[in-house]
């Protein structure tokens, strides 16, 4: 197998990893606070269009931040619906996804003069070569050449994420809201703000991931460019058993699966499989995993349930 293709495939996998991982990590914060968020796809979409606009207007760094903030703002719709008004989390998530497509078109029309895409050629961050790794032999080095700094950010964000979840007061309380909100409330911890925060983090990270997609990968906004990556992030989150490190692994595997049809279509075995079947891998793997063939996953105990206690409002 030509390793040069493998190197290129890994490079692409890193890009997809970044989207899936950041989005999944956001979902992790939301779900561990007790709010199921299947609106991740919609939040990603908002990130793509706002990120593209921000980049055209101010530059890539600002574009990424604007994408994240837009995701955060939009995610508040989900938070208000599910936390304050106790709407079913799934229904609200579905509506978020449907509405996001409309908003993205609306904004695209407003910003770019056409509803379904922007001009290409968005300015992006300066790509970097990772020292040492980028000079790996046999073409493998390609995987670490011309890498977006955001990929490194995505890897590094694991550290604060783990720290916040496990070592801070906020993290402890957030987890308690997702596991047993009643316990939190009886100890004077207000559940609603924590859940707002959890959803907000998911909005920011998904928006950031969306902006990364439009700015750093495609160089433009285009309708449909998220291709269900928000759902794949959800799959990675479930497969990762709601833990950041395992999510990271899942995100990389699914990112790699995305890269296969693009770069490894001619490799042995794989060339026998049509690309559409390779695209199914993340979904099929997730179905198999949650059906219990690999081992049960444990969502946060109170995730998806409205909390009726007085402290929730």
């Amino acid at each position: 197998m030509p390793l040069i293709d493998l190197g290129a495939a890994i490079a692409i996998a890193f890009n997809y990893f970044t989207i899936i991982y950041l989005t999944g990590l956001g979902g992790l914060f939301s779900e561990r606070s007790g709010i199921v968020n299947i609106g991740l796809e919609g939040l990603l979409i908002i990130g793509t269009v706002m990120g593209a606009w921000g980049t055209f207007t101010y530059g890539p760094i600002q574009g990424l931040l604007i994408g994240g903030l837009a995701g955060l703002v939009f995610s508040m719709v989900h938070a208000v619906a599910t936390v304050t008004f106790k709407v079913d989390h799934i229904v609200s998530g579905v509506v978020i996804n449907v509405v996001a497509v409309g908003i993205a078109r609306f904004l695209s029309q407003l910003f770019f003069g056409q509803a379904t895409q922007s001009d290409p050629g968005l300015p992006h961050l300066t790509a970097i070569n990772i020292p040492l790794l980028s000079s790996l032999p046999l073409g493998l080095g390609q995987a670490f050449e011309q890498m977006s700094p955001m990929v490194i950010v995505a890897f590094l964000v694991t550290i604060p994420a783990l720290f916040v979840l496990n070592r801070t007061r906020f993290g402890l309380r957030l987890r308690s809201a997702g596991e047993n909100p009643e316990a939190a409330r009886t100890l004077g911890v207000r559940v609603a703000p924590l859940r707002y925060a959890g959803v907000g983090i998911s909005g920011f990270l998904a928006g950031l991931a969306g902006a990364f997609l439009s700015i750093e990968i495609n160089g433009l906004f285009r309708e449909g460019q998220t291709q269900g990556l928000g759902f794949i992030a959800l799959a990675a989150l479930i497969l990762g058993n709601w833990s950041p490190l395992r999510l990271m692994l899942g995100a990389f595997l699914f990112g790699f699966a995305q890269a296969i049809p693009l770069r490894l279509g001619d490799a042995p075995v794989i060339s026998l499989l049509p690309p559409q079947f390779i695209n199914m891998i993340p979904y099929v793997v997730t179905i198999i995993a949650i059906a219990g063939f690999i081992g049960r996953v444990h969502p946060p105990a109170a995730a998806g349930k409205a909390y009726e206690g007085a402290g929730a409002t």
């Binding site: 996804n97 509405v99 199914m280 979904y283 099929v284």
Partner: protein, 392 residues
């Protein structure tokens, strides 16, 4: 979803009437709110909201053709909403109507193309069955996984949707593909004419009033019949009774001798069968082929329609008409105003969320009242209810 059945306003009013009044006013409030938000956007575009709203109205009701297109828009949503609702009544969330109808269209295409020699209406029947069976198979997988392994249907159906999209893309490119030269877009071979659903205009000779382009087929009356059948199933049959018992209290249903797994599989299959009708109008209306650019998202739209319609067949028809009407208005706006048509998609979202929130608030208020009445009924010392108050 408890309030609709547990309402009681004043002693003098029959419960269903009070129920209706409260729900109607909640709806009205939600509509007003959505219209206000919409007005803000419209004013932002220097247009007059009243003009815009009246344009939408006229585009939906002016000519028979307009009304027919609203009905055409509503048709798949009725099926999709019913599919979501029957599952939901049984406590199951079928997010997979999306994938099920896509696979259903594929099944229909297979039947129409590979059984093309079937004579007359037999081919149409086979094609429709092809769609239903394919969609049911797609629904069966998450259902059996739920029952056998406990895998949550929300997650599995989302994943099945992803698989469906890729699978159908592959079949359009391979076994179903048309190699006709002049085609630009990817699509299946064209179906024989007798695989298509006749339009109502054709049957009654109304082509003048309702052009074939509108695709107003007999599928719409079928959708209405499906509503009646679903109502009968849910409220008059033993299966429906058991399904509702599971949906409201699985433990009590189980102790009442209801076989949970078997019933859930049955209702998921019925849901899948309904999903099998969702895509039919777009491929068997007048197109006569399955294109790679088929209309997606109808399954998700079904979720919103089901919730707008309170999972009730009549409500689902009304909600579908509403959404169909708004989409029709979208077409109108694109012709007559500067307003981006996407405004209406956003408006639709705002409307859906505010209706759902309004319902949520109403049902909570009604529940409280029900409990209060139960309490006052037995004066202060009743146990469960006070325990309810004591539980924190």
């Amino acid at each position: 979803m408890t309030a609709s059945s547990s309402t009681r306003t004043r002693r003098s009013l029959p419960p269903w009437l009070g129920n209706l009044i409260i729900q109607a006013s909640a709806l009205l409030g939600a509509f007003t709110f959505a219209a206000l938000i919409g007005s803000l956007i419209i004013i932002g575009y220097h247009e007059n909201p009243i003009d815009i709203y009246s344009t939408i109205w006229h585009f939906g009701v002016n000519r028979p053709e307009d009304i027919a297109s609203v009905l055409v828009n509503a048709t798949p949503l009725i099926f999709s909403g019913l599919a979501v609702a029957v599952a939901f009544k049984g406590g199951l969330f079928n997010i997979g109507v999306e994938g099920q109808y896509i696979v259903g269209m594929m099944g229909a295409a297979f039947a129409a193309i590979f059984l093309r020699s079937l004579p007359g209406p037999l081919l149409l029947i086979a094609t429709v069955l092809g769609s239903i069976v394919a969609a049911m198979i797609w629904a069966f997988i998450p259902a059996i996984l739920k029952v056998k392994t406990g895998a949550h249907e929300v997650v599995t159906t989302i994943m099945m949707n992803g698989v469906a999209v890729s699978l159908v893309a592959w079949t359009i490119l391979n076994p179903l593909r048309s190699h006709a030269r002049h085609l630009i877009d990817l699509r299946s071979q064209t179906f024989p004419h007798n695989a298509l659903i006749p339009t109502i205009a054709q049957t009654f000779g109304l082509q003048q009033q309702i052009p074939p382009v509108v695709r107003f087929t007999w599928l719409f009356p079928v959708a209405l019949i499906a509503c009646v059948l679903v109502w009968f199933l849910m409220y008059r049959s033993r299966l429906g009774y058991e399904v509702r018992a599971i949906g409201s209290s699985m433990g009590s249903a189980e102790a009442g001798g209801v076989s949970i797994g078997a019933t859930q599989i049955k209702i998921f299959l019925i849901s899948g069968a309904l999903a099998g009708f969702v895509g039919l109008n777009q491929i068997l209306g007048d197109k006569g082929y399955l294109g790679a650019n088929y209309e997606a998202g109808l399954g998700f739209a079904g979720i919103t329609v089901a919730f707008l319609g309170r999972n009730n067949p009549i409500g689902i028809v009304l909600a579908s008409l509403l959404v169909g009407f708004l989409s029709r208005g979208q077409d109108g706006l694109s012709v007559t105003s500067n307003l981006p048509i996407e405004t209406l998609i956003i408006l639709q979202g705002v409307l859906i969320l505010s209706v759902i929130i309004a319902y949520e608030l109403v049902s909570r208020a009604l529940n409280k009242r029900t409990q209060r009445e139960a309490r006052s009924e037995e004066s202060a010392v009743d146990t469960t209810t006070t325990a309810g108050a004591e539980a924190t």
